[in-house]
């Protein structure tokens, strides 16, 4: 009986903890929205974060996009060759890159690069009392730290996705036309025929949403860090895991919604 009560107690506590965390996440999100539209705007800080999230992620995004385009072309080629439809490889890869692979892989790479850094930086600021120092100086930390990062995430992810999709197509062209000798005219013609600008918009909306997830989760986890260096490590890990999972799950629902 006692064991059952203890089990129930533990279950109740975990439910409470989850609800508490969700509640504080929603409150912080609302506060972020409110501060995002209230002047004065922290333009310098925002541009600095845009550089960090956007410009400094270009290299990884270029590599990821390029090789994803190359490998999907290679894989697709062997499938399509079975029914002599090799010229469709380009359009298939373009569709996959624009609608799925571009935004998702970009978001996962930026989560690993920038989302984790946001959690670690804000976490360190929390445990070294720098966030308290902001409060004491009557400077709101949400406005100074979170809003610029979230704006950078939402605006940079679509741009990085464009880079990723473009590089994916460069990789696809290289492998398809130059290595596998698919007819160049047909390759491009099929892309024109089957891929719409709408497909890219679709991906860009997703990218903006993923940018919001990875930057906000990174900031939230960092902002709520407790417990010294260990706490910072934990916050960083959790930020990456939660962002990655949320990105993949929400990807399905966004696709279902926008199809």
């Amino acid at each position: 009986m006692n064991k059952a009560a203890a089990l129930l107690d533990q279950f109740g506590r975990s439910v409470f903890n989850v609800l508490e965390e969700m509640g504080s996440m929603i409150l912080l999100f609302l506060s972020t929205l409110a501060w995002a539209v209230r002047p004065p705007f922290k333009i310098r800080l925002t541009i600095k974060q845009m550089e960090f999230v956007g410009v400094k992620s270009i290299f990884v995004v270029v590599l990821t996009g390029l090789f994803t385009g190359m490998v999907t072309t290679l894989q697709g080629y062997y499938g399509f060759r079975m029914f002599s439809a090799e010229t469709l490889v380009g359009s298939t890869v373009a569709l996959a890159m624009a609608r799925e692979l571009g935004p998702v892989l970009t978001a996962l790479m930026v989560t690993a690069r920038a989302g984790s850094a946001m959690a670690a930086e804000l976490g360190t600021m929390r445990v070294t009392e720098q966030i308290d120092a902001l409060y004491v100086m009557a400077a709101n930390p949400v406005k100074h730290l979170i809003v610029p990062r979230v704006i950078a995430g939402v605006t940079m992810l679509p741009l990085l996705t464009v880079v990723s999709v473009f590089m994916g197509m460069v990789g696809s062209y290289f492998v398809g036309v130059i290595i596998l000798d698919i007819n160049k005219g047909m390759f491009i013609e099929n892309i024109n025929k089957f891929v719409d600008l709408y497909d890219l918009y679709n991906g860009l909306i997703k990218a903006a949403f993923f940018g919001l997830i990875l930057s906000f989760v990174g900031c939230f986890k960092g902002f709520k860090t407790t417990g010294g260096a260990e706490g910072v490590g934990k916050a960083t890990t959790e930020a990456v895991v939660i962002s990655a999972i949320t990105i993949l799950i929400s990807d399905y629902f966004l696709t279902a919604l926008m199809f």
Partner: protein, 248 residues
């Protein structure tokens, strides 16, 4: 004046402040002493509204900040400066930017005026030529000086010090103590200092308050405290193992 009235504060099941009352007199340095982990920092954070009491009130110059909204609280906070335990300098900014931060945030001062004010504050704390350095390039004592310069940048009336000498060598401890003493006198500040350092108590304090078991158990001039009959105060000042303070 700062007045804390019947403050209760618990974290989960742990009671930290338990009906604490304290009046901090204007234009004086009040030192708060007490055991490590005894709630001194929690007390300090209540004074500046970083923590809100479960019950009781914190009155700063007539305004109860424990029930204030953020906007009003920020106005009250502009009267304060605070030096944190590890200085809490923003490590993404250099020394100059750190000290200039509150000025850029809250004033419309021109760049030239900001520069003058920052350099003068750094000079007040005995630093010059370090403006371009990043906090990671500074020693512990220098960080605290920069932290003090930043706390003084807005010309506050009240300055809070959270263990200003912890982790410093005896010479630097003396230097920071003297700096607190001189700053208080030159700017006619109300200072609240948390300290473990018995020597500091007698060199910088006008008033001393001893926090024990969530309450202020003794308050008076350093001399009065030295003559106190309270066994807890006696044991603490002597640093003795024998007495009512248990060692866990």
């Amino acid at each position: 004046m700062i007045e804390l009235v019947d403050i209760h504060k618990s974290f989960k099941k742990q009671k930290v402040l338990d009906g604490l009352n304290l009046k901090i007199e204007e234009g004086m340095t009040t030192i708060i002493i007490g055991r490590s982990g005894g709630g001194k920092s929690v007390l300090l954070k209540h004074i500046i509204g970083l923590l809100k009491p479960d019950s009781g009130s914190v009155v700063i110059e007539g305004d109860d900040i424990s029930r204030m909204n953020d906007r009003d609280l920020n106005e009250v906070r502009k009267k304060f400066g605070m030096l944190f335990q590890e200085a809490a300098l923003f490590d993404s900014m250099n020394v100059f930017e750190n000290v200039a931060f509150p000025l850029r945030e809250h004033t419309r001062m021109k760049e030239r005026e900001i520069r003058e004010r920052v350099l003068s504050r750094l000079k007040d704390v005995g630093l010059s030529g370090v403006e371009e350095k990043m906090p990671s390039e500074l020693s512990g004592g220098m960080k605290k000086r920069v932290g003090l310069a930043r706390a003084l940048a807005m010309e506050p009336r009240i300055v809070l010090f959270d263990e200003p000498t912890t982790g410093l060598d005896p010479v630097m401890t003396e230097a920071i103590d003297r700096l607190i003493f001189e700053t208080q006198r030159n700017f006619n500040l109300t200072c609240v200092v948390i300290s473990h350092d018995i020597k500091s108590i007698f060199s910088v304090g006008h008033r001393v308050a001893m926090l024990y078991d969530g309450k202020i158990i003794e308050y008076g001039t350093p001399e009065e405290l030295r003559r106190s009959d309270n066994p807890v105060v006696k044991q603490f000042l002597e640093g003795s193992l024998e007495g009512p303070i248990s060692i866990m």
